[in-house]
Structures are given as structure tokens and as C-alpha cells.
Amino acid sequence: MTAKLNAALAECRPHAATLAGAMREAELLRPVTAERAQSLDDPTRRLLDQLAYRFTKLQDSLGEKVLPGLLERAEEPLAPDALFGEKLQRLERLGAIPSADAWRVLREVRNAIAHEYPDQPAIQAAMIERLLDATDELLRVWTDVEAFANRLGASP
């Protein structure tokens, strides 16, 4: 069990490190105006692609592997057919994630990343800005989750 959780945490670390690095560069894009969103150069597109890719990978690994692993490790058994929402509420109550609702919105950001709005530059700009904000939030969640795992005794 612990080995599985440690493996899941180890899977997240490179995603988080690359995401944090990409985010430091992407901060320079703020504020993302409609004009800027319409005329992104190739390096900036690649940077945003990298950000989106690592955001997706980190969100998926956390949601599918680390969070379920933390619930097991915390010895807080839930019914096998417990809804995902119940698991999130439990994780919030345990202090593993800051907010179940905020996690759900990050999940929606992850699903919305691939969608582009070439005919609506203001919406495209707002979506990029939202991705940058969501990346900050996801990296904070990762920090909290890793700290919680360490408190549970999973080795770093």
C-alpha cells in the first residue's frame, strides 16, 4: 500500500517540477489581453502546450492515484461504492486538500484546456489567464498533498 502511494507521489513530482518551471515563464504573459491571445508566437504556444500537458498529467495522477491512496493510508474506510464527491469531502475534512469544490473546478479546467476559441479572442485570453491561475492553485494543492502524505509517514 505504502509502496503504491509512494510510487504515485514519485509519479507526480516531475510533473509538478516541470509545471512550476513552465509557470515561472508563463507569469510573464500576464496580463493576457485579447490582442496578445490572438498573436501568440510559436515559443509561447509551445510553453502553453507544455503547461496544459503537465497540468493534465499532475491533475490525473493526483486524482486517480494519490488521493485514493491517501484515503486508504489514512485508514478512513469508505464504502466501496462511495461517490467521488464523498471521497473529496473526506479528503477536505482530513486536511489533505484545501477544498473539495476547488478541486472540482480544477478538474473542469483540465477538461476545458484542449478547447480553443480562435473566433473569440477575449474568451481565449480569459481561458489562458484562468489556466495560469489554476496552475498556481494546482501547485498549491500538490504542496499540501505532499505535506499531508509526509505526515502520514509516506517517505518523500
Binding site: L83, G85, D101, V105, A112, D119, I123, A126, R130
Partner: protein, 103 residues
Amino acid sequence: MRMTARQLERVRAATARHFGRDARLWLFGSRVDDSRRGGDYDLYLEVGPMDARALIDAKLAMLAELHATPEFEDERIDLVVRRRDSGPEQPIHRSARTQGVPL
């Protein structure tokens, strides 16, 4: 139309909560066709003037709210939102409005 009364209630309530009472809502795509099975929920929304960031935030919050309900937990929802003041409608908006079912 393939949507349960409970789902309809959820979608109407979430629309009003996140986009206001004057937002108009349609179901379009495969869920309109009673002879088909399964499929995504394609929803089209026409909303009043709002800031682009507010629109994105409202859309994400509405999807998060619906996915938190047992009725939509594992369902794919494609939510297309158009501001009425955003210029001429695109073909997807026109077909959603004319071939969809107003909810």
C-alpha cells in the same frame, strides 16, 4: 429528448445560479434523438452581457456543480455559451438553437 426530470431540474437550477434568470438554455446533439442511446449532453446557453473572465468562471463552476450531482457524476457535458451581445452567431449556435430543444 433523453434527459430525466431530475437532470432537467439540475441543469435549469445551475444555469440560473451561474448565468442569471435571463439565460436561455437548449439541449442539442444526440440527446435530442430518442432513438439513440448514451452520448454526451450537449447544452447551448445564450447569456446576457458579461465579462469574458466571468463567463469562463461561471461555465467552469456550472460544470463542476453538475458533475458533483449523482445525475451527472460520470457524464460528459459539452457546454457551449454565447453572449447575446457578441456579434453574429456562428453556425454551431444557429443549429443548436434551431435543431435543439429549449429547456
